[in-house]
Amino acid sequence: MEKRSRSFYTLATFFALFLLFLYGPTITIAILSFQGPQGGLTFPMRGVSLHWFRDLFEQQAVGDIWGSFSRSLTLGLMVMVTTVIVSVMGGLAFRKRFPGSGAIFYLIITSLVIPSILVSLGVGLIFSQSGLAVHWSTSGFGAQLTWTLPFGLLIMFAVFNRFDKSYEEAARDQGANAWQTIRYVVLPIIAPMLIGVALFGFTLSYDEFARTLLTAGSYNTLPLEIYGMTTNVTTPVIFALGTLTTAFSFGIIGLFLAIVVILNKRRSRHGSDAGKGMV
């Protein structure tokens, strides 16, 4: 191997600093969440304790953290499943141009770039003017889909752009009908990418704030609850909550990545060539 140039070390240092910048603050609040009971929002640490975590599990003076967590979890799963199904269908549809496909494509881009507060405001106005009650599982759910679907679809477009169509032709030649081709050939090949779409669907919903702000109704999701806390909580309890929910996110990301790795390992063990149909 050729020797590393000086620019490599400069860039590597830059990259390391970037990672420090990216993760430093998160690590800091993780440390600070173990403050002693007398500790404040910054260093020095006044003892080390689980005081602030214990605080989270006790009856809350403000808000309803565990209720909002379970709502966020449910909503995240709903959005995840919908995002995967709708994105796969959309991805399949967009493999061929059809009348109106250009318009839908620009709608997807609009959905991605439109300021979140507009979706929040617009959906909120529609519900209030038509006398419907806003609720996280109806208006909140729809508003979040406008954020997760573009990501899911862009991934599916990228996937199908690289999809080797000869696998499908082979299936059809062997007498598979359209549904069988999709079920037994296309879906297994794109399965790892679907895990990726699911990850986007869940985490983007779980952390979504702006689009849920005016569409969640009287029951808050977790990010709304946390935002509410920032204005009236001045103890490290907010760091403890932040650390827990970040740890939860990391856990979810790790879980999805593990599924992808296991899927790939199982395939190579069984000598299957599924997943190699990408060019």
Partner: protein, 314 residues
């Protein structure tokens, strides 16, 4: 007979030979529908969601922007009062200027950082495994909460925070710096922290698709590293840069929460103007501001889209 007609007849014959389980007629099959119908059916759920939660809300905002409001309620009308008030108020221009300022500064910083990081990943990391690992490290924060990531800056930037106490103990300053938190500085710092990965991902993606032999050809013809960068890599990376720019610019222009939180409500951008009106139940005025913001954002995007064909870049 054309080939297509021939194929069609052949298909009909085949389906006649294999009768479906449900009856004498062939089973319902997507493959036998015209392409357009298949396309419509498959994109129906998508179109429905986008119609109900994107198009209708935008239409509603446009309609409500012409309505009137009392202190407690809003009423249907067709008046230009909201726009007139907006466009004649100096605050509007100041706030729009601020919004554009945040967008431009954040764009410039994230572009430099994002390009450098992507360049390192794409051209200096040698094995695919390490590229994937390091790339994932850059993207993981995207899947965690923005609000928590903003809160995480408090222990750093506060009056008694890490930055100030370090600088004081090093003897660089005597008094704590007041402008670290709740200032333009902290707002832009948070923007860069939150959105740089939106630059890294598309730029890295484009760079990975650059044919390595082009770079070798440049070196073989005597180009220096810098010349290769400016004459080969940067032009070929332009689509990624454009997509990243679209993300960063629209995210910053549409933001209201970062500005509110990181400036301690001392600075304003258009998003905050809207959210303040909402808090005061002045929906028509909020809607009018939203319409102007949307038009501005779409204008910026349409300019940026002239430089890149997104469908080709996926």
């Amino acid at each position: 007979m054309t080939d297509q007609a021939h194929l069609f007849i052949q298909k009909e014959a085949e389906s006649a030979e294999r009768p479906g389980k449900t009856g004498p007629r062939a089973p319902f099959s997507l493959a036998r529908l015209p392409d357009a119908v298949t396309g419509w059916l498959l994109s129906l759920p998508l179109a429905l969601v986008l119609f109900c939660f994107l198009l209708l809300p935008i239409a509603m905002i446009v309609v409500v922007s012409f309505w009137g409001a009392t202190e407690f309620s809003i009423y249907p009308a067709f008046q230009f009062d909201n726009y007139e008030f907006l466009l004649t108020s100096p605050v509007t221009y100041q706030v729009f200027f601020n919004t554009v300022k945040y967008a431009l500064i954040t764009w410039a910083i994230t572009l430099v950082i994002g390009f450098t990081v992507a360049y390192f990943l794409a051209f200096h990391v040698r094995t695919l495994t390490w590229q994937i690992i390091l790339f994932l490290l850059c993207t993981i924060p995207f899947w965690t909460s923005n609000i928590i990531r903003m809160i995480s800056w408090i222990p750093f930037l506060g009056r008694n925070g890490i930055a100030n106490s370090t600088l004081i103990s090093m003897g660089v300053i005597d008094e704590p710096l007041e402008w670290l938190l709740f200032s333009d500085f902290s707002v832009i710092l948070a923007f860069v922290h939150l959105y740089t990965l939106f630059m890294v991902v598309p730029i890295f993606n484009t760079m990975m698709r650059i044919d390595r032999s082009l770079i070798e050809a440049a070196y073989d013809n005597g180009a220096s590293g810098l010349q290769t960068l400016t004459n080969v890599i940067i032009p070929l990376t332009k689509p990624g840069i454009m997509i990243g720019s679209i993300f960063v610019v629209t995210l910053v222009m549409g933001d209201f929460i970062t500005v509110r939180f990181m400036s301690g409500s001392q600075k304003a951008n258009v998003g905050r103007l809207i959210s303040n009106d909402i808090a005061l139940l002045q929906y028509p005025s909020a809607a009018a501001t939203a319409v102007i913001l949307l038009v501005t954002v779409l204008l910026v995007i349409s300019i940026l889209l002239r430089f890149v064909d997104i469908r080709k870049e996926l």
